[in-house]
């Protein structure tokens, strides 16, 4: 009988580069920045790492495929290094690989690192995708915002909201993240903006305007994991952060190819959340979770995710958003570090960046954005599009919670 990952893996150290338009840095420098911080934080030597997982999603504008670029960037000579890719869930996939390796005892200490260099494309937004030779022949490749904008049409139709009501709530999602991001020295966008500015921004994919879209950033984030026992032996006794759940759900085509999905929710998030709560032993997420880092690639995504995670009732997230439930001083702070919206979204790094913020918050090291006594944090990634994608959920918390 499977017993799950809960409390089998502890975080020994974490690091995160500054996110943003890092014109002066390649992936190698970003990786080095995040890794250096994590290694120092963990208080170990490079040679103590037994295996490494490297996550990067868009290899054509990055350092290419395979694990070789990581092994080369960090000179991980003779180390088993793997590369993982699962769209926006890539960073969490790297963490999953490393966590499973230490949980099963294959290695004592493992490295998970994710990096993305998006600002070498020459244009804003993500690179134009291709999806293999068959899909190329029939699938319209809209931009990422076009994929998620369809949630707005579905959500509005199901709950009979006016375009203005939904647009207002979406704007409120972004407004809150800008307030939070302004306090984060590593964030890409560090400026609060007026609701009016968000509402009147140029249209990208209707009804998503520029301010409904997250930052397209360069960056890297890193975790060094081990077992709680080894962490203790290495002297990590205060505020030890352990992994409570690591779950994943990928589309089988049901939402995209059958009539079941109405466009108002993301089934993968619901699947992964259910499994993660079971793994972590959570039965009332809105009460038990201290904070959320969700995949706010677009404002509408965050709004719908609140319902998919079960922290808002179906059809009520837009009200909760307007009432400030997810603000820094609300009942369940969300995107306290600015989220994808303002911290930025270097695809392969994002999952680890979210865990990084929870790690800092749980250890009381989050500076001016520190929350009061957090115990459990949930992070959530959504890759692909709402109707054909992948969702990863990680829950981390203080050991013993």
């Amino acid at each position: 009988m499977a017993t799950g990952i809960k409390d089998k893996v502890a975080i020994l150290g974490m690091g995160c580069s500054r996110f943003g338009e890092r014109w002066d840095c390649g992936s190698e420098q970003l990786i080095n920045e995040a890794f250096g911080e994590a290694l120092l934080d963990a208080g170990i030597e490079r040679r103590q790492i037994g295996a490494a997982w490297y996550g990067s999603a868009l290899d054509r504008v990055n350092v290419g495929n395979s694990a070789i670029p990581l092994a080369t960037a960090l000179r991980l000579e003779g180390m088993p290094v793997s590369r993982v890719e699962n769209m926006c869930a890539t960073g969490t996939e790297a963490l999953r690989g490393a966590a499973y390796a230490v949980a099963c005892g294959a290695v004592d200490i493992a490295l998970a690192i994710g990096a993305e260099k998006l600002k070498d494309t020459g244009y804003g937004g993500l690179p134009v995708p291709t999806k293999g030779t068959l899909a190329d022949l029939w699938m319209p490749y809209g931009s990422a915002p076009a994929g998620f904008a369809q949630l707005a049409a579905g959500y509005r139709a199901r709950y009979r909201l006016s375009p203005q009501e939904l647009k207002q709530a979406m704007a409120r999602v972004s407004w809150k993240s800008h307030v939070n991001g302004a306090k984060n020295p590593k964030a890409h966008l560090r400026k609060a903006v007026e609701m009016e500015t968000i509402l009147k921004a140029p249209m990208i994919a209707e009804p998503l305007g520029v301010f409904d879209c997250c930052g397209v950033s360069d960056g890297a984030a890193c975790a060094i994991v081990t077992t709680p026992q080894i962490a203790h032996e290495l002297g990590k006794r205060e505020s030890l952060v352990t992994i409570k759940a690591l779950q994943l759900s990928a589309s089988s085509g049901r939402e995209q190819s059958t009539g079941e999905w109405d466009g108002s929710y993301v089934q993968n998030t619901r699947n992964a959340a259910r499994a993660a709560y079971r793994e972590a032993g959570i039965d009332d997420p809105r009460k038990q979770l201290s904070m959320l880092e969700v995949h706010d690639c677009f404002s509408i995504t965050e709004l719908v995710t609140m319902e998919d995670l079960g922290v808002s009732a179906d059809g009520q997230a837009w009200r909760d958003v307007m009432e400030g439930v997810f603000d820094a001083d609300g009942a369940l702070p969300c995107q306290i570090d600015g989220g994808l919206k303002c911290f930025g979204h270097p695809v392969g790094a994002s999952g680890l960046r979210m865990v990084y913020e929870h790690y800092l918050q749980l250890q009381g090291r989050a500076g001016s954005r520190q929350l009061k006594n957090p115990t459990l944090g949930l992070s959530h990634n959504l890759g692909g599009v709402p109707y054909n994608g992948v969702c990863a959920i990680s829950i981390v918390g203080l050991a013993g919670v």
């Binding site: 244009y123 030779t133 319209p140 809209g142 076009a146 904008a149 209707e206 085509g253 109707y387």
Partner: protein, 427 residues
């Protein structure tokens, strides 16, 4: 356009009983590729159809029809389609049109008009030409075309045909002429002593001269008007003249076909000249870096999935009944393996489930409209949505399918064809 006309013609007819598909065009996209084979695949015709391209002169639309009517056995589908290009500012830009028409030929009870006979006159009268690889025609003086060409050559061909069929001009109920300047049909009819009220619509003002398709469009116009016993004469002027006479033997049967009149009514108007130029590729616009993506098609993959891609044939699971696209080894609903039976979706009613207008991604006609399309009976598919009129899109908007170019591979000259969804017209 050829596929669209073919689908309209095939409404109520079998798709799998065709002896031949004759496809006529002077503007088909490839120099070496059987376009009739492409159209036959999109129309889901039987694989043993003889697919033939007729090309290189605007009169071959009528030639393709005469050829089909003269076939001794089987049923023949004839389609003529032209997308006529002209330089901005040219007379042809004003005169040319784009269009397609399709006719089904055969024998037996269903036949409502028959070919009485046809006549060809072939002379080296080259009033215009288009060199291989060029996008626009080169034209000689219109007065010469009218006086030395049409006025002398068309009556010669028509008279020869009437004489052979022992018909006098007053027996002609409907007369159509294409290939010349506007109003040359009236002048020729007068010279031939054909009654002015016999003139079919020349379609010059509203549609423009559609090249090979024009004779067939005029014949459609005649068939939509004719009574049993009426004689229809259609002439196509080009390097001489092709002329055919038909007799209406039964009233036009009622059908769900859109026909010429329906097609003209079902339209989205575009009056912005700059947009027209952009649509025709006449403006060198900056499409941005997102347009640079390589659109190379794996021809191996296209062949493997050709019924799915060209014919919009999905699958129906023989185990649970779920209809789906694409057709993959395992059912999307019940995961049963190897249970997919081909299931065509091109004529299945559909509605918008989700939609958006994408201003970021490259589209030759921005914004890129796309969304999940829900077919009656369960299938669902992410599709591009085109020809959206002033009413716009909402969840639930009824849609019909259109065979279109999905992407152009400019580097290699290949067109990727697939289906797009279009709001059903209220007409």
């Amino acid at each position: 356009m050829a596929v669209e006309a073919g689908r309209d013609c095939l409404r109520g007819l079998s798709r799998t009983s065709w002896q031949a598909l004759n496809l006529a065009s002077t503007s088909a996209p490839f120099a070496d590729l059987n376009h009739a084979a492409l159209v036959a695949a999109a129309l889901r015709l039987n694989l043993n159809v003889a697919a033939m391209d007729f090309a290189s002169s605007t009169r071959v639309g009528l030639s393709a029809l005469i050829e089909a009517c003269r076939a001794r056995e089987g049923e023949q589908l004839v389609i003529a389609a032209d997308k006529r290009g002209a330089k901005p500012g040219s007379v042809q830009e004003m005169q040319y049109g784009c269009g397609a028409a399709a006719l089904a030929c055969g024998s037996g009870e269903a036949v409502f008009a028959r070919l009485l006979g046809a006549e060809s006159l072939t002379v080296p009268f080259f009033d215009h030409f288009r060199a291989s690889g060029q996008s626009a025609d080169y034209h000689w003086e219109e007065r010469w075309v009218r006086d030395e060409g049409l006025a002398k050559l068309v009556p010669q061909a028509v008279s020869a045909l009437l004489e052979r069929l022992a018909l006098t001009p007053d027996r002609i109920t409907w007369f159509g002429l294409s290939g010349g300047p506007a109003r040359s049909d009236a002048a020729i009819a007068k010279a031939l002593k054909i009654a002015p009220q016999s003139l079919l619509p020349d379609l010059q003002a509203g549609v423009g001269d559609t090249g090979t398709a024009h004779s067939l469009l005029q014949l459609l116009a005649a068939l939509e008007r004719a009574q049993p016993g009426d004689i229809i004469v259609i002439a196509a002027f080009a390097q001489g003249c092709e002329v055919a006479a038909f007799e209406m033997i039964k009233p036009l049967p009622a059908s769900a076909r859109r026909g010429l009149a329906g097609s003209l009514a079902d339209r989205v108007e575009e009056s912005a000249y700059l947009r027209l130029l952009a649509n025709e590729g006449q403006l060198e616009l900056d499409w941005g870096m997102r347009a640079e993506v390589d659109q190379k098609t794996a021809l191996t993959q296209l062949y493997r999935a050709s019924d799915q891609i060209l014919g919009l044939v999905g699958g129906r699971c023989s185990s649970c009944g779920a209809v789906q696209f694409p057709r993959l080894p395992n059912c999307v609903n019940c995961a049963a393996s190897d249970t997919q039976q081909p299931y065509a979706l091109d004529e299945v009613p559909a509605r918008i489930a989700t939609h958006t207008a994408d201003w970021l991604q490259y589209s030759p006609a921005p914004p890129l409209l796309m969304g999940l399309v829900q077919f009656d009976g369960g299938a669902r598919l992410l599709m591009e949505i085109v020809d959206v009129g002033a009413d716009g899109l909402e969840v639930g908007t009824p849609l019909s399918m259109r065979f279109r170019i999905k992407e152009r591979d400019r580097q290699r000259g290949w067109n990727r064809y697939f289906w797009k969804a279009s709001p059903m017209s209220a007409v």
